[in-house]
Symmetry: C2
Subunit: 338 residues, 2 copies
């Protein structure tokens, strides 16, 4: 009987889920709104009802396990902690509550870590031992892989590169600190940069028609493609900062590649060119710049989040197989006998 | 028969070596000048003659292996590459040349990595899985441990945290870049800071009697202890920058402790207090500051370099025992039958 992994990606707006086989094929998928439920239990009830329906179309498979990607999730504790974009406040024992509905092996981690494992299992990092994934959405997330394993660190919160300082004393960040990388390099960050540039320059720009609330990174991208100076400068500025910080990250774990993932990565060369230029300028010369690739993610944007979450299960299997030789393991459960 | 490891620490001035048992006892030690030899071969000849003499006092032991700490050493290739403070230029195949004199299993890595492994095997990091060692000598080196293993990265040069940017567009660094952490936080860095402060302030200070060439970090320390304003400010400034960057490093690998090692660490609280204050100010709030210790190294300054280098052998044994279960191993060689 073929094995499947259930991948669940919890975003601020939607929760997306899909049943994925070992080759990264999504056999069934669905979604629900993450917000607007009376309680976590009400949300879990709706999610699990939808999963029940989906599973009926899938009998004959066994479910290997469940992988969940969520903001501020902690793999060690199975919790979601103080996630600013979710309605559930404080420290939420998510896995414990989820298991009341579906008692399978569950692994939860933050969405950027899931993206990194997705890249390793299904994407462009297959076979790589040392790489970093940077996710550029509303914020900037990261997953760091060392020796073929995701780095979780002492407390499960390793890889928060969005909150290293990019500019000392710089912009206020939602973290409460000033100058965080994410305040510059993210969908929100590039909008803030446009407003800074509009205030500084006197050249005309179609971007002068947008309020702060209206402006999106997509609008900036489209303006840049049409040759708008302010928009082009915004990508240049964003890329410069990201490239400089990537050079710093290389000095920590010396990866063979850095993958850029998420909405803003859709800008392609408009972002990657200044990133590369600045990266090479700031890279410490013991590193051979030609050996370090900076590329777009190898996972399709549309299904990347589900693939990433489901990859947690396949990655865990690999780890379990290693530790099985030294005792302990998990066994799959038939999908029609939950 | 008891096993020993030979630890060799190659510094710009002296090469120190010692035979160390599993508990970190140095049973015999010696040193020679690193510079002033006609060739690498001449240096190796003198080193190995001294080792021969030392070994005669140690018969009855087996030699498990040799660990070498050296600037810019690459564990994957067994090379020392472009080390600015050594006479051997370019890429030196050190292990290959060394083995012509002593054909034992040899592991070489940079001195800061050796210090980190020394801390893990013999020092204050025993039992820790995630920690960072920062070495403050002429420059700033670092060794990063993740999941109980030193991070070498794709090319063997991970952990070059001295060359992340501390101040964008700041001081020139020997790396050819501007604003590197090491240009501020190191024995040299704090001297540069004193000269900057002397140029900026108008208060009197005994440090106004020293030329740039004369001034040492020890002199600054002694002036600070006696209450000199400039010297105290120099430690404050150095500690501020280090603390801010340590907070960034936590966001990468989330260690449980950071150990400060080397000459400047001798300043103790004079350095650690501003480091801690700035670290807590800049630490991203998903991390619990109370769970992250910043401490002085647990290895005595005097023998730390030899212990660190020898620890490479014991650490390698641990790794080999793991991989032995999956094939491959190294066996010890009797010390009186080289």
């Amino acid at each position: 009987m073929s094995e499947l992994a259930l991948g669940i990606d919890i975003g601020g707006t939607y929760t997306k889920f899909g049943y994925v086989d070992k080759d990264g094929n999504i056999l069934a998928e669905g979604k629900l709104q993450t917000f607007g439920h009376a309680s976590l239990q009400a949300y879990l009830q709706e999610l699990n009802q939808k999963l029940d329906v989906l599973e009926q179309s899938l009998s004959g498979y066994t479910l290997k396990g469940i992988g969940i990607g969520a903001p501020n999730a902690n793999i060690y504790k199975g919790t979601i902690e103080h996630a600013p974009n979710l309605e559930w406040k404080g420290i939420v024992p998510f896995v414990e509550e989820f298991k009341k509905f579906r008692d399978y092996p569950v692994t939860i981690t933050n969405d950027a870590n899931a993206a990194a494992i997705g890249e390793m299992v299904f994407g462009a990092a297959r076979g790589m031992k040392h790489f970093i994934v940077i996710t550029l959405g509303t914020g900037l997330g990261s997953g760091i892989v060392v020796d073929g394993k995701l780095v979780y660190g002492a407390d499960g919160f390793a890889g928060e590169l969005g909150h290293v300082i990019a500019i000392e004393g710089g912009r206020m960040c939602s973290s409460g600190k000033r100058g965080c990388l994410e305040a510059y390099v993210s969908a929100t960050g590039i909008c803030r940069t446009v407003f800074e540039l509009l205030s500084d320059a006197i050249v005309d720009s179609p971007l002068r028609d947008y309020s702060y609330r209206e402006l999106t990174s997509k609008t900036i991208y489209e303006a840049a493609v049409r040759g708008d100076y302010i928009a082009s400068q915004a990508f240049e500025y964003t890329g410069n900062i990201l490239g400089r910080k990537l050079a710093d990250f290389v000095a920590a774990t010396s990866p063979e590649a850095i993958f850029i993932f998420g909405g803003l990565a859709g800008a392609g060369d408009l972002l990657l060119k200044p990133v590369r230029k600045s990266f090479e300028k700031y890279l410490f010369n013991v590193y051979n710049k030609d050996n370090i690739a900076i590329r777009l993610s190898g996972l399709g944007e549309k299904s990347a989040a589900i693939l990433g979450a489901s990859a947690l299960v396949w990655e865990k299997e690999k780890t379990d197989q290693k530790s099985k030789r030294q005792g302990s393991a998990t066994s799959p459960v038939r999908i029609d006998q939950p």
